[in-house]
Subunit: 325 residues, 2 copies
Amino acid sequence: MTTHKGFDPQAFRAALGTFTTGVTIITTRAQDGEPVGITANSFNSVSLNPPLVLWSLAKNARSLQAFSTSTHWNVHVLAADQEALSGRFARQGEDKFAGLELDESIGKAPLLKDCTARFQCRTAFSYDGGDHVIFVGEVLAYDHGDRPPLVFQSGQYALAARRPREEVRLGATPPPECSYTEDLLGYLLGRAHYQMLHALRQLLDTQALDERSFFILSVLSIRDRLTLDELNAFIAYTGMLATADSMAALEAQHLVALEDDRGEDRYVLTADGREASLRQIALAKAVEEDIAARLGTGDTMALKLLLKRLIANSDPGMPDLWSPR
Amino acid sequence: MTTHKGFDPQAFRAALGTFTTGVTIITTRAQDGEPVGITANSFNSVSLNPPLVLWSLAKNARSLQAFSTSTHWNVHVLAADQEALSGRFARQGEDKFAGLELDESIGKAPLLKDCTARFQCRTAFSYDGGDHVIFVGEVLAYDHGDRPPLVFQSGQYALAARRPREEVRLGATPPPECSYTEDLLGYLLGRAHYQMLHALRQLLDTQALDERSFFILSVLSIRDRLTLDELNAFIAYTGMLATADSMAALEAQHLVALEDDRGEDRYVLTADGREASLRQIALAKAVEEDIAARLGTGDTMALKLLLKRLIANSDPGMPDLWSPR
């Protein structure tokens, strides 16, 4: 750690930015009736009785005049899928409210939709805060839903991965000399993957199919008419390879068919094959919904985000399965 | 969304709690020299020039007297691994500072170690905030390190999963009729798992071993002297099973040996087997370090936390590999 006594604004901001916040949009209406809104993360709760919240606004902000003269303003705690709205209200010079549907509000301040929580406030105090004004508002009404909230940390948007009260442990604490522990990322990814496959395997059994066949049918359900080599380019990352024999077995089950394309053999899904694949994907989605209900919507979004970042950062060069051709 | 105009304190608190915050400990010293500290998430930045921060304290808090009479206080933005410290300073009636090493501070307020960021402040203003007092402090010195910060949302601790500025996409947008997309959790887990295995597979090739052998050696490295059935209880979740033949192959490679335990066959790792397993685990750790460097320490902690929660919530009943026997 370095102690800074000089105040380089950028370094000071970086230190302050380590304090995580939500993201809010705060709106009011100027005296001429113009709607005004800004993105702010300086919001916080103050008092329960009376119900008070606060936020601060730069004294040189264009919206200071409007917030200083109006009596009512609304705080919107943004949801994880409202990052674009946050960006829009953080920029100047565009019509921030264009195309936005508004709800009825107690005061005249615009009330935005689809947020995690909203607080309709009347200015109680405004205090000096150096180059900012601290607005303290009495909450007249509030509402909140179950949309996971957007998070902001060190200048980046984020999602929250919640930690249960009890530490999550899968097994007993390993002895100190044990170098293979449940904390190894590779172990956790493997076990999570195989546990997600558990229900799918039971379906595959009833379909008389193995895991490799599942991957083959999945790829063909996205990209049909592939040669054996093309098919393998998409499933090679699993360590499994389709062979002429394995394809012949799927042909015998009437799940794939061979087409002759100017002398080149290409595999296509039959109607039965598409049906079998759809049942597998439907099951995978049901398993995912069950997991999402247990983990929470926001946590599941966070997990998918982190997995995508891991995949993008460790991709050995897999061709894009979904690219147009 | 439901609008509440009556103010049930619990419901109001729940709505306020959707606004995500970091967690701080704020310390001062009472006039009798006694160190005082509380956990607070009402902290926020106010002004850059002069550098000001604020937080609020309940008027009925035991520490109000100390914070009202002292001129200096320190704000500590807690790191992800300081959850226990947060809990300690949130409770009453124990010696909160027992056993804590302190750093030198400008004022007399205790300065805690190992935090994400620290702000040493002198009271600039204290304002009325209903049932709370709002303390605004001038920051005299600050420091911050690279420890990922602790997050608090809806009454639970959390970690942040950061979202890069550009959306993370693995492939082109699939056509709307495509039901198998890169957003399927099962796909993401599978692809992440297999990509993590990529480097390991190359090592396994040089060791003339397959994936199943990797799982067998891993289990034996944690729990030695297993019968074939016991071994399979631990690796069955992968869909692979050890057979007498596969074990005979590992015996022929001098990696495992068969011991007779009162007429029962039990497998043990040989020195060569332990060596081979250690090399695999070392590689898995190196791959993980590389990933953690790309994702960030906090994000990797968040990923592991979410994977553990997923595993704990979808465990079909796997025996504990690390439990003592």
